[in-house]
Symmetry: C2
Subunit: 612 residues, 2 copies
């Protein structure tokens, strides 16, 4: 297993955008190269390539020839060391970095000091999705020097200008009772205000710093995971998705898990959680970390429980702390900790339809019941935060009492825990730790908004990271879809990251094709939310694909798709011949009935009218 | 191909609920038989069967032994004839019913006269989903005669009682800052008010009549399609879904189309549109109608165009009218007519990203441009309505200018046409015709609400019937999901029927497995909206499935699923042995780590605590 077993996208090339503040920041993008538009006069219009956010790291770069045994280049190592606030220590075979002093070595700490790090510039460039091109587009639209605005920033502000309905009515003069505002320059819809996002037209390193400092976003990047390409999670950025991997007692091997990692990031997973519960947890994690360009999350209580041979009663704070430190030194970027599940909330799950369905939650609830003591993760919160601050591990405060069914959604136990998640968020922030909050679960559509608004209010806009929510319980076998519906809706309202659910959820372990289906499904769900929230570059790809579709540029349509292979294979099933890729129709309507072609004819007729 | 090639659901039996007003009304339901819950004391609690809405007609009844050549029993024939307002006529080989006079023979006309038809009682029973059981449940909850309310209707009203947050706070005394209201009796969430639905706790024939009379709902049921089992489309009923079938020039045969019909209704399609454009349109439709227990819709302009060998310029009103009458006499239940696409709107599509993407729309636009005349469907609207009223064909006013891309959503052309759809709706209603309006298409999430609110306002709550909407353009190969996201959201806000989109959309022709995937996907999407809108029986199935899941009743979990075979096959992939169906864990976490089991242990510990 090495770089030569490369997963690649057709019609694409890897490019890098260099940082301006930090010249060794080089942000990878995948550019989809488009064919020309053939104009009626026989000339060709050259279509600009479309930049795609790329999670695949060096594995997606043809010029990279490393292998899994060696691991990835240590991209961030110099950035981390040059800050001068960490020291290298050795214990046994292992060597790791740790904070020199009690001062946090976190992106949050730097941001609050007003420091812009290379990581911040990296994610700013990444979020712009090749938006530099937009400047050029705007200039092209103002060929007349007199009418050309002086400042590019000013033009970009105009890109999100929202005309009032009355202005539009005045322009059109007649017609429907009201019109939707639409940006005339970018051909992109104006976002709705209610989404509450404060997304700028252009992401600057300073904007990123401010979001990190406020706690509205985090960059999970452990100082011991220098292979990690920085990415940001927050409501004012692109919606991110997470894929879970991990062996359980019943199946899978280390090699399979690393392969799953590469597979998940190829399809676009922004982070990966290693939820291993079986044997070789430590070794599996090591392989994953050394080969992962994306942040790796874990749930440390799983490994702690393995250490006491699965006996919940035997768990102790000391065992948990040692496990947390072990993972911190390996380079885990964020950890789920179920500290908000208080002992007194457990009784409130007794009359639930489906009790406690979070693994971590049920472990901690059981521990509390057995010992008659408060959740030790809650009691040791300050110590947990101090450990995380010394390695810059992001904390993902678990929702151990999330509903496991529609019936249990938004009940007392769930909301009570959410309130405590808010308290713990503030305490972690005070200790310099980057924070996000985990959320449900199973929620009917009309209760999704409440989850989001309460989380924003109680947790002070700390990023929300949800599993689903699944909007019905009646579709086992299709829960990637029930979750994608809820995921799109909650992301539209401000959820920052969606944890994927595969079609095997509730039924079995996902295989590679399930992972692919789930990642692509959550990518489309997240992207739908990006459109709705008005991410300034989101609609570029939709527009490019729609135009390719209208012009029967089939190859471009496939190549711009989230899953080009599947799109192409579906087309080939009914029209397999190579020249069908140039056909001005498709198999759905046949050559005599193509609406797209009829519509092009109408366009042509309209033009002839104007001439005659 | 006959009844013996039966498609069946495991663990289910067919039952019929008899009408009270019309004893020959017998509404089919599929009951899923559940196994017992084993209680800790060793006794068993018997779980009531769960009634499922069943679209499969006689094909889903084991005691039916007909075949495709004979067609289905003529269920509604006596109801139609007994109204005494139709006569049988013969033309060539064909014999058909038609209105005796100019008076409409439509469900709308009867409803407005205050008449409750067997069709209305049929759909009332159907919508209750075995809700008679709910009465019993309520009585069981009031064993004390004194505290038992006098009237069952009164109790059912209470089922939708919404406690105020302050009441709940008083009850709980402490805890989260606010709580979501939840119905304490049904364990079902209270719907949000904003959905605007006026769904009653119990559907009566009179309620159905009132909805039909007001135009908020329709029962598509041509007097020449007596095989059709009545169903209702309207925002105050269950959300319905439609599957498209139909041969195109490039593939498929009559036999395949009838098989697709049976397949689509087996998985739960509420109506089926025959969109054939190739040869044998008439014969294909005849086979489909005689074998369909669900309403069949068509787009008559497709056949009209075939009659002029695909030459748009040669289309005339006379050819269209004759085609419409031909289809009316065969028994088509609803027709899409693109009459709201006015000539002056066509220019407004010239600068679109994807022009006109509706086949019917592009035909009419092209015709208008060629002849310089207004759309003849608009000009002949009154005549069209008179034909439809004489057979009780529902009209589905087409949206020929629906957006074909995110970029074109909610633009001038689309909304201008919607406004005309509203005008035509009123005119059709005045002529006794049942009406719905077709809607987009491709719409980003934040613009979906506008589509729905404008449609409700401009078309006076006539049912909305949408294709998707697809919430992004970047996922060809996954457009059943992009459409299911938009579909769930627009249905939550009042859309009455969703037209499915298969994963082959934009790419190729769907095969059987694509149809199954798409139907199930739209069923879950529609059901998610039913939950959010607070359909009084919707959550029963979620609750039953969630309880089965919590109690490790695997077979019940599979059998209650929308796609039991898929759920079971996914489970069997990792745990194939028969005794794994009784295991108190699944392959996802393995035996040592099961959150569900840990949670049951907690429950047990809580009980022991109480005892000690």
């Amino acid at each position: 297993m090495d770089a030569e077993n490369r997963l690649s996208y057709p019609g694409s090339r890897r490019t890098y955008i260099q940082g301006k503040l930090f010249p060794d920041v080089k942000v990878p993008m995948r550019e989809v190269i488009l064919s020309d538009t053939l104009l009626p006069d026989g000339t060709a219009h050259q279509n600009a390539p479309v930049a795609i956010y790329d999670c695949s790291g060096p594995w997606g770069d043809d010029s990279f020839h490393g292998n899994v045994e060696e691991g990835l280049p240590r991209l961030r190592e110099s950035w981390i060391l040059e800050r001068g606030d960490v020291i290298r220590q050795t214990e046994g075979d292992a060597s790791y970095l740790v904070a020199k002093s009690d001062t946090p070595v976190t992106q949050r700490h730097y941001a609050q000091q007003g420091i812009i790090t290379p990581e911040m510039e990296y994610v700013a460039i990444r979020e712009n999705l090749g938006r530099e091109e937009a400047f050029k587009t705007v200039y092209d639209r103002y060929p007349n020097e007199k009418s050309r605005p002086q400042d590019a920033q000013q033009i970009l502000d105009e890109l999100t200008y929202m005309p009032r309905p009355s202005e539009l009515e005045a322009q059109s003069g007649f017609g429907p009772k009201s019109m939707v505002a639409r940006d005339q320059l970018t051909h992109q819809h104006v976002p709705e205000k209610r989404s509450g996002s404060r997304m700028p037209a252009y992401f600057t390193p300073e904007f990123v710093r401010d979001e990190i400092a406020s706690g509205r976003a985090l960059i999970p990047a452990n100082i011991n995971h220098p292979e990690c390409e920085p990415m940001v999670i927050g409501r004012n950025f692109l919606v991110k998705i997470n894929a879970n991997i991990g062996n359980s007692a019943l199946g899978s091997s280390i090699e399979e898990e690393v392969e799953k990692l590469r597979w998940a990031i190829h399809w676009g997973s922004d982070t990966v959680m290693d939820l291993s519960t079986g044997k070789n947890i430590h070794a599996t994690r090591e392989w994953i970390l050394r080969n992962s360009p994306v942040p790796i999350g874990t749930v440390p209580i799983y490994q702690a429980l393995e250490k006491v041979r699965g006996k919940v009663a035997d768990l102790t704070w000391d065992i948990f702390r040692d496990t947390l430190i072990e993972q911190a030194r390996q380079g885990v970027d964020y950890v789920t900790i179920h500290a908000a599940l208080l002992k007194r909330f457990v009784n409130h799950t007794a009359n639930r339809m489906t009790g406690i369905v979070s693994r971590g939650g049920s472990i901690m609830a059981q521990w509390s019941m057995i010992h008659g003591q408060e959740n030790f993760l809650y009691d040791h919160w300050n110590e947990i935060c101090e450990i995380l601050a010394a390695y810059d591990i992001g904390i993902s405060i678990g929702d151990g009492l999330r509903p496991g069914s529609i019936a249990d959604a938004n009940d007392f136990a769930q909301l009570a825990e959410l309130e405590i998640q808010g308290d713990l968020t503030k305490r972690a922030w005070d200790r310099g730790v980057q924070v996000m909050n985990e959320g449900p679960g199973h929620v009917p559509m009309h209760l999704i908004a409440e989850n989001m608004t309460k989380q924003l209010e109680w947790c002070l806009e700390a990023p929300f990271y949800t599993l689903g929510p699944l909007v019905t319980d009646i579709a086992p076998g299709y829960d990637h879809i029930t979750g994608a519906i809820g995921g799109a809706m909650i992301a539209q309202r401000g959820c920052s990251m969606l944890c994927y659910v595969t079609q095997k959820e509730h039924l079995g372990l996902p295989d590679k094709q399930d992972v692919r289906e789930a990642v692509v499904t959550y990518k489309l769900s997240a992207h739908a939310a990006d459109l709705a929230k008005g991410h300034p570059s989101a609609q570029l790809r939709d527009n490019a694909l729609a135009q390719a579709r209208f012009e029967f540029r089939w190859e471009d349509q496939f190549n711009l798709a989230l899953d080009p292979q599947k799109a192409r294979s579906f087309h080939d099933l009914t029209l397999p011949h190579a020249n069908a890729k140039k056909a001005h129709f498709c198999s759905m309507c046949g050559p005599d009935f193509c609406a797209m072609r009829l519509s092009q004819d109408i366009k042509k007729m309209g033009k002839e009218d104007t001439l005659s």
